[in-house]
């Protein structure tokens, strides 16, 4: 593939679309051609800034008042109470709140932490480390994307998709099921550029057990963070939280996250 052909495929490459062979050919050309590698980098950087502008900023939080009104008028939730009922409600509620505050002060004064549980990033980093260092083996070892997908679909109640396509650089090695703070979770283990990368999947409703990540994913489409030496990136995809962790370039992790479940058969209509 020459420079002109390679550059014509920038959109597909940037968006993690196109077939695996194309991706490998582009990658091969970029490895041999510093001019095209620079050109791809600059185009992607400009595109990322433009996208941020189009979104109106890095974070997109819903407006609570707007959504309260939308949901009430659409009949999904009850309309707000009348003023008189609200006064009675708040009077009773006020006593309950006062009692709660007293209890909270008591608990805090005893040195307890209301969010004492470990965060999702800590838990997944610990699991990932034990896979990466060989202290723990995956429940099911396989290099087949389809076998891994079928295995997980039998093992967990929430929807799971197949591993990210291999042309994004993720080579699956196995999968299994674990518990993260009392929540059932699935994991995929594999490699990106020879480094261990794990992907954790949880049903979205269990995200509330992890207030920090819950809030972050209310504000952002994809949340990026770091836990010790591990980079992490997470997003909610079709009712699941998908978290990718590894000691690799965050851009590579993002590509893996974007490609999660991107085999044509896994994209439902």
């Amino acid at each position: 593939m020459n420079c002109e052909e390679t550059r014509r495929h920038w959109d597909l490459y940037h968006d993690s679309e196109g077939d695996g062979e194309l991706y490998l050919q582009v990658n091969q050309h970029l490895a041999e051609c510093p001019a095209c590698a620079k050109w791809f980098y600059e185009q992607s950087r400009l595109e990322d800034v433009l996208v941020e502008k189009l979104r109106g900023g890095p974070k997109t939080s819903p407006t609570p008042e707007l959504w309260n009104s939308v949901l009430a008028k659409a009949g999904v939730v009850e309309a707000p109470r009348s003023l008189a009922r609200s006064c009675l409600f708040f009077l009773g509620g006020g006593l309950a709140v006062a009692a709660s505050v007293l209890i909270a002060v008591f608990v805090l004064s005893r040195g307890s932490d209301l969010h004492a549980g470990p965060s999702l990033s800590q838990l997944t980093a610990q699991h990932h480390q034990s896979f990466a260092q060989g202290q723990q083996a995956a429940d099911f070892a396989s290099r087949s994307d389809l076998d891994v997908e079928a295995y997980l679909q039998r093992r967990v109640a929430f929807p799971v998709r197949c591993p990210p396509r291999q042309d994004t650089g993720f080579f699956v090695q196995g999968a299994g099921v674990c518990r993260l703070e009392r929540s059932e979770a699935a994991y995929l283990v594999g490699e990106v550029d020879g480094a261990s990368v794990s992907i954790f999947l949880l049903p979205s409703d269990s995200l509330r057990r992890f207030p920090h990540q819950y809030q972050a994913l209310q504000r952002e489409y994809t949340h990026r963070c770091r836990e010790g030496k591990y980079e992490m990136i997470m997003a909610q995809i079709d009712g699941s939280v998908v978290l990718v962790v590894g000691q690799v370039d965050p851009g590579r992790l993002q590509r893996v996250l974007r490609a999660y479940g991107s085999y044509p058969h896994a994209v439902s209509t």
Binding site: E4, R7, R8, W10, D11, L12, D15, E17, W39, E42, Q43, R45, L46, E47, V49, L50, V51, K53, L54, R55, G56, T60, S61, P62, T63, L66, W67, S69, V70, L71, K73, A74, G75, V76, V77, P159, S204, D205, L217, Q218, R219, Y221, T222, A235, Q236, I237, D238, G239, R258, S262, P264, V267, S268, T269
Partner: protein
């Protein structure tokens, strides 16, 4: 728990993580900001009514954005301020960001996109408004919704190849308009 409240709970569980994206998309793509609440409300009303048709485990994000898009198009057409032509199905004459490569101003944008684009909010909005409604939808579904081409195709009811060529064309046009804006305004990094 009654059937209705269980349905509402399941619906809300799906909807909640998408509220920010739905709202942001709506705000960008509507011509009249005063219509945001109405459009979202009509979207949620119809989607909740039809929620029994949604198959659990399938792509809820694409499913609800399809409803939103119908309402957005309906709203904008009522105000008749948009170009409503559909996307050309044939792949247009090849355009690529490479065609801009020799432009000194575009080179400067590429060198420091953060600095230059900081001063281009209005130009970006104008460029967006100059697109047809389908082109805007493709661009914003990708940028705000982070949809894959196939999902955008499902939302808009067009072939995936059409989405691919449209996105490529629109990206080039956006770059051309930004370059032209920066040239006119003398917005080069040294001048910032």
């Amino acid at each position: 728990m009654t059937g209705d409240s269980a349905k509402a709970e399941r619906f809300l569980r799906r909807l909640e993580p998408l509220q920010g994206a739905l709202e942001a998309y709506c705000r960008k793509v509507l011509n009249d900001p005063a219509g945001v609440e109405d459009v979202l409300q009509n979207t949620v009303l119809d989607a909740f009514r039809d929620f029994h048709l949604y198959a659990e485990g399938t792509n809820f994000r694409a499913w609800i954005f399809r409803y939103l898009n119908l309402k957005v198009f309906e709203f904008n057409r009522r105000r008749a301020r948009v170009r409503t032509e559909s996307l050309p199905e044939e792949i247009p004459a090849p355009t690529s960001p490479e065609m801009l490569a020799a432009d000194r101003v575009f080179e400067a944008i590429l060198e420091s996109p953060d600095t230059v684009l900081e001063q281009c909010d209005e130009a970006i909005s104008q460029a967006l408004r100059s697109l047809s409604e389908q082109e805007q939808a493709v661009l914003l579904l990708r940028a705000i919704g982070e949809f894959k081409y196939r999902e955008i195709a499902d939302v808009l009811g067009v072939p995936a190849g059409t989405v691919m060529s449209c996105l490529s064309r629109v990206r080039v046009r956006l770059r051309e308009q930004l370059t032209e804006h920066c040239r006119r305004q003398g917005l080069l990094p040294g001048d910032a």
